[in-house]
């Protein structure tokens, strides 16, 4: 992934687990890029055919908690419901997160993500927007 792009993600080295850096111009974009990065790492592929729409809502004290909850929802969807979501419309309004997600039954998955962690999780404002580093237990 080209880090000169306005938004994107890249894998970071981590001894035992997985780490990801995501960046975007705004928080909504950061949430979407984080989800895309996690999906790319796990190799989750939705099947061709009818799409499934779902809305995820959560309220929390801080955006980091909202990010963990959102990504955790995607982990659960893949592991238990065998669903892969790959398109996201993110709305943040104060402490309320609402994500309209579009996906399909999981066609393939190459890596199990056990959990999304809070380890050193901090969304930082940068000159170009926002960035975050996320560690996943795999």
């Amino acid at each position: 992934m080209d880090s000169t792009q306005a938004s994107g993600f890249e894998e970071l080295p981590h001894t035992a687990d997985w780490a990801l850096r995501a960046w975007a111009l705004d928080l909504e974009g950061l949430f979407a890029e984080s989800a895309r990065g996690m999906i790319a790492l796990s190799g989750a592929q939705p099947a061709a055919g009818p799409r499934l729409e779902r809305t995820f809502r959560s309220r929390a004290h801080d955006p980091e908690s909202l990010l963990v909850r959102f990504l955790t929802e995607l982990v659960y969807a893949a592991d238990e419901e065998r669903l892969a979501f790959d398109r996201f419309k993110v709305h943040l309004n104060g402490d309320l997160l609402e994500v309209q997600m579009s996906g399909a039954p999981l066609q393939s998955l190459t890596k199990v993500i056990k959990a999304v962690t809070y380890h050193n999780l901090q969304i930082r404002a940068t000159q170009r927007g926002f960035e975050v580093e996320i560690v996943f237990d795999v």
Binding site: E11, P13, E80, T110, V112, A115, L121
Partner: protein
């Protein structure tokens, strides 16, 4: 970043980061390592994470770190921390998402050399009967009332269903069942994830490995453990699958608020915790014990499947094909134990994350045949190198909260391993070395390459030199099944 000069060598294989290193530490950090092993982790966050662990409220004594340490998330892999019971805290992140991940060792009387021509068939059967890999369901699907019985009874449930013997339970840590499981504290999502995963291996670093007992170092202990030189043994490395991951996820999330309520300040949100005597702490302990029981039952079913593979491969052709359990131990667990602190018996909650219980001779809870030897300590290596069977010691009880290392410990990132190692070439290399490989994913195999791990022999030499374990036997892999 912590530097070598921040550590003091207090014994030939034991280093200390004093409590004075950082103002928020509540005790020192003690690290069992050679200088070479220590230098391997100075480049990552292992030691910072150990220092962070030393800030847990109610910490008793030192945070102990094993030589297979590496960075994790929040708490280092290879870390052990004890907190005062019941007023100290319990931290889900200090136990890990794969609650009661552990290792089971089964021994046979089949001579490895005589069975060489059958090992490929054995590997294929193990792969068939022990579902592994991403999203693979288990061998038993249960309804929710049955799942609750498993969460309450652990491996005892498996015994009632004919999957376990009395000897299996006796040779499982805690008899394969933790008391105090609270099913109502396990979320609906966790329940759902557990229904169809029982008896499955999963992916990642989990495996089933057939080994040849290569060398015996302590004949009396090896005899007590049922290990015979030249014979085949089986290791099963697995945990509580999606059910356990969900329990930990639920409580790391819930405790984000709990720390605010209890005024607990921590350097890392992944270390969130709650007092054990609080409603939140009690709820987590109850749910964690339920997930641990699921893991005991899961490894028991995998052992049952391994026995089926052995019987179909060897019965009628080789003597001693029956697999007899050596031991089943946990290395991601929080347990209330009694330890001597400044000469007084004190109840503490021992958090072990990537560290194995290693109770010495005479410790309570060991089966009678292991009371003289100390408990078996199972240290799997990477799939191309040796594994070790050690025995717990009195020294481990006095300096390491009755704990020891749990493996070789990673040293190379998964990203680097994926880029540098090709799964197909690795498989060919292992097969060339006489190791039959059944892997669901070649990139996954590459991530787990032996070169991604530390030298397990160096790790074992360190714990033995430090006195926290004794060598009993060395195992050499002949077949590996990975997800």
């Amino acid at each position: 970043m912590i530097r070598l000069q921040d550590l003091t060598l207090i014994h030939p294989h034991e280093w200390e980061i004093p409590q004075s290193f950082r103002a928020d530490m509540r005790g020192p950090v003690r690290i069992f390592a050679t200088r070479a092993l220590l230098e391997q982790v100075l480049g990552d966050q292992s030691l910072e994470q150990a220092v962070n662990a030393a800030t847990l409220p109610g910490l008793v004594g030192a945070v102990v770190v094993m030589p297979d340490m590496h960075q994790g998330y929040g708490f280092p892999i290879g870390g052990v921390a004890a907190t005062a019971f019941p007023q100290g805290v319990v931290s889900p992140g200090a136990i890990g998402y794969d609650i009661n991940c552990g290792v089971r060792l089964l021994a046979s009387g089949v001579e490895a050399d005589a069975a060489r021509d059958d090992l490929s068939d054995l590997a294929t059967r193990l792969d068939r009967y022990c579902p592994s890999g991403v999203g693979r369901a288990g061998v038993v699907e249960v309804n929710l009332p049955e799942l609750d019985r498993i969460l309450r009874e652990g491996a005892r449930w498996a015994q009632k269903k004919g999957y376990a013997s009395e000897n299996d339970l006796a040779r499982t840590e805690e008899g394969g069942c933790l008391d105090g499981a609270r099913l109502e504290k396990v979320s609906e999502r966790a329940h759902k994830r557990g229904r169809d995963q029982l008896g499955s291996l999963g992916a990642g670093n989990h495996f089933i490995e057939v080994d040849r007992v290569e060398a015996i170092y302590d004949p009396a202990a090896a005899a007590a453990y049922g290990l015979r030189e030249g014979c085949l043994a089986v290791q099963i490395h697995c945990g509580s699958r999606g059910l356990g991951h969900q329990v930990c996820t639920d409580y790391v999330e819930a405790f984000q608020d709990a720390v605010r309520r209890y005024g607990i300040e921590l350097p890392d949100r992944e270390l969130v915790c709650a007092p054990m005597d609080s409603p939140e702490g009690q709820a987590y302990l109850g749910a964690m014990r339920a997930a641990a029981n699921f893991a005991f039952a899961n490894r028991q079913l995998l052992a049952h499947s391994a026995r089926r593979a052995f019987e179909e491969t060897f019965a009628g052709q080789h003597r001693g094909w029956q697999l007899v359990q050596v031991y089943d131990i946990c290395h991601n667990m929080g347990k209330v134990e009694t330890h001597l602190v400044d000469g007084a018996a004190v109840k503490v909650c021992v958090h072990r994350k990537g560290a194995t219980r290693a109770f010495g001779p005479g410790a309570p809870g060991l089966p009678p045949e292991y009371r003289k030897t100390g408990q078996p300590v199972l240290v799997p290596g990477s799939m191309g190198t040796a594994s070790w069977v050690l025995a717990g010691t009195e020294t481990s009880m006095s300096v390491a909260w009755g704990s020891c290392c749990h493996g070789a410990g990673r040293t190379m990132s998964r990203a680097r391993a994926k880029h540098e190692i090709h799964g197909e070439a690795l498989r060919a290399e292992l097969e060339h070395d006489g190791i039959r490989v059944r892997a669901g994913s070649l990139p996954g195999l590459a991530e787990e390459a032996p070169s991604a791990y530390k030298d397990v022999d160096a790790v074992v030499e360190t714990v033995v030199a430090a006195g926290i374990a004794r060598k009993v036997a060395r195992l050499r892999p002949v077949a590996v099944v990975k997800g």
